[in-house]
């Protein structure tokens, strides 16, 4: 008798699974609209990129991507359920349909893009991996780190770059690998490791949370390319388009001088590029399943790329990161968005 019950249960469960996966493959846009809420995967807490503020409101450059997508689709930058994810959990959460969008300092790599059922939709931060050490160590270059213990977080591109760098420089090191950022930092802070390594942007953010930020320095060497961007599930080109063009709209808006405060006046602009962006001319959003004024809502509710950068990680924030590679192309940076036409 027990056998039968067990078998029956297993049967029901296996069909449940089938149905769940089938649901994951239906249109993400429809799911988000009918749910009335975007489920967005973010980091577990990385000031400037994705972290709740004192009032518990999620803020950051990566969080703004979630808000911008929600604005384009739901015309509301707050109809979002933020799902904090560690490096290790993030892809499974996206693959299994737990989140609609992953916006969490994730490096665009070939294997992730092609073999993991994921699609990268753009680059919202050009980054590279670096090292942070305590000032008291008197280390000024990563080349001096031979023999050091280095703390890293698992499930990142960081582990591989680290191995490559030390091998090609014929140096030795001892990696101490943690699953959670908090424990990795705890160990680094307690002196278990000489250095902590991850993308430089994250090092700047972490440095501010480590008590006295001036006790730690970020070494000048950048040992890898880390193009960070939002990720969606493979197999839903419409949703990928929405996320991709949300970022492009923000970059184009900066280029065209459209800001959160002037976006309403800009609707009367004579510039055809601005008129197309804001949906005054043409119906560009409609082809990807959103309204023609999709970008207007993004800029009205979230702002353009430059504004988001500035208030979260740039000059207007405690991090004070220079635009550098993340400046617009015409200012000598790499941020370049295809035109809306």
């Amino acid at each position: 008798m027990r056998n039968w019950v067990a078998a029956g249960l297993a049967l029901v469960m296996s069909y449940g699974q089938q149905m769940e996966l089938a649901a994951a493959q239906t249109s993400t846009l429809d799911t988000v609209k009918s749910r009335g809420q975007l489920q967005c995967g973010v980091s577990t807490g990385l000031a400037g990129f994705g972290a709740p503020n004192d009032a518990g409101v999620w803020q950051g450059l990566d969080v703004d991507i979630c808000r911008a997508v929600a604005s384009a689709v739901l015309k509301d930058a707050d109809k979002i359920k933020f799902v904090p994810l560690t490096a290790k959990e993030r892809f499974t959460a996206l693959q299994s349909g737990e989140i609609d969008l992953l916006s969490r300092n994730t490096t665009w790599t070939m294997s992730r893009d092609t073999a993991a059922g994921l699609n990268f939709t753009g680059i919202n931060y050009y980054d590279g991996q670096g090292f942070m050490v305590k000032k008291t160590l008197d280390v000024v270059s990563a080349k001096e780190l031979s023999g050091a213990s280095i703390c890293v977080q698992t499930g990142t591109t960081t582990e591989l770059n680290l191995a490559d760098y030390f091998r090609s420089n014929k140096m030795e090191y001892n990696p101490v690998v943690f699953e959670k950022l908090s424990e990795a930092l705890g160990a680094y802070n307690a002196g278990r490791c000489d250095a902590f390594t991850t993308d430089v942007s994250q090092l700047y953010s972490i440095r501010l949370t480590l008590g006295n930020a001036n006790d730690h320095i970020v070494l000048p060497e950048i040992i890898s390319k880390e193009p960070l961007g939002p990720v969606v599930r493979q197999g839903d080109p419409q949703w990928a388009n929405i996320v991709r063009w949300t970022l492009f709209a923000m970059i184009n808006a900066e280029e065209l001088g459209v800001t959160q405060s002037n976006v309403d006046q800009m609707k009367n602009s004579k510039n055809p590029a601005i008129r197309r962006l804001l949906g005054v001319e043409g119906e560009y959003g409609v082809a990807m399943g959103v309204d023609k004024d999709w970008a207007y809502h993004i800029i009205k509710l979230v702002g353009n790329y430059g504004e988001s950068f500035d208030r979260n990680v740039g000059a207007g924030s405690p991090l004070g990161i220079a635009r550098g590679q993340n400046a617009l192309w015409r200012d000598g940076g790499l941020q370049y968005a295809p035109p809306i036409r």
């Binding site: 039968w4 993991a116 059922g117 780190l145 213990s149 680290l162």
Partner: protein
Amino acid sequence: MTRATKARADQRPSRSLTDYFYDPKSRGIMLQLTVAVILIWLIWSVVDNTIRNLEAQGIAAGFGFLRNTSGFDISQSLISYTSTDTHGRAFLVGLLNTLLVAVVGVVLATVIGFVIGIARLSQNWLVSTLAAVYIETIRNVPPLLMLFAVYFGVIKTLPRPRDSIEFPFATYLNLRGLYLPRPIWDEAIWFVLLAFVIGFIAAFWINRRAKKIQIETGVQPRVLFPVLGCVLGLPALAFVLAGFPVSFDVPQLGRFNLRGGFVISPEFIALVSGLTLYTAAFIAEIVRSGILSVPKGQREAASALGLRDGQVMRLIIIPQALRVIIPPLTNQYLNLTKNSSLAVAIGYPDLVSVFAGTVLNLTNQAVEVIIMTMAVYLSLSLLTSVFMNWFNARVALVER
């Protein structure tokens, strides 16, 4: 076939279908068959479903990734491993690291658990109260918290490499680990090994003979010194004769860490001590209940026969208590092994950290990696159970 059914079969050569149905034996077989068929179909459909879904989602499948270069380093390994080795080898490294923690943890937890369990029953109020306090506190702390406490306790109290605590024989302790001199054996060490084997066999023989003499004459010959002489003295003599066939790689202060020597990482120390302390509390309770399960009369009878306290414990109480102790003890061993997968929280490179963590994330082949990881824990559990059952059958008191 029994004689009765045979007779029945003879009487009625042709049986109708309903007869089969009402025959408990054939009905049983039919039921089993149906269940088996459904089970196989279920497994097949789950596997098929998974493969198809992975394909549809554009996720790679198969075990080919095990042959690809891993590209990452592991801090501790019992076999040689570098980032140019394969994911398959990284799996082995993780597996061995898990086994190491499990074996060391099980041995230590057993010893500590037995000591505390017996202390709990001590006539001495202080001793038994201390044991009780230990058991009650530890049993009520979640193991993960325990690990954090031990780990951060360890690395926060130990000094930095420059101010290492120095022990004799070039041994150092700091927050990067325990550094021991690493022996480098010369060729001639086989001579010492041989002496050790011979000494061991001789000691075994001496013991056997002593037992025989005791049974025949009732006199207990003193064996301690001859046995020690064989097991330790003989190899030591060989060691000297071979001209000290060993040199040492001694740890020395480098720029960041001590270099050279043999390192036991603080992660390993914290994991093993955390798991050991935790499991020992449960084992202590098991030991206590086992000893209490032996009727008081046994102890009194043994004392009346003139056995000393230690002998009563060793020869009368423990053998009977073991029957009660071993099954739940097995459970604790399994728990310790499974709890060792919390390692990743404190940075120890066990199977879950290396394989179900790093490899899974690099290859994105979650299904394969998790299946392999589960298979490992399942096999470890089954092997432990089989061994403990065998052990139980061997030591269990044969009742006449």
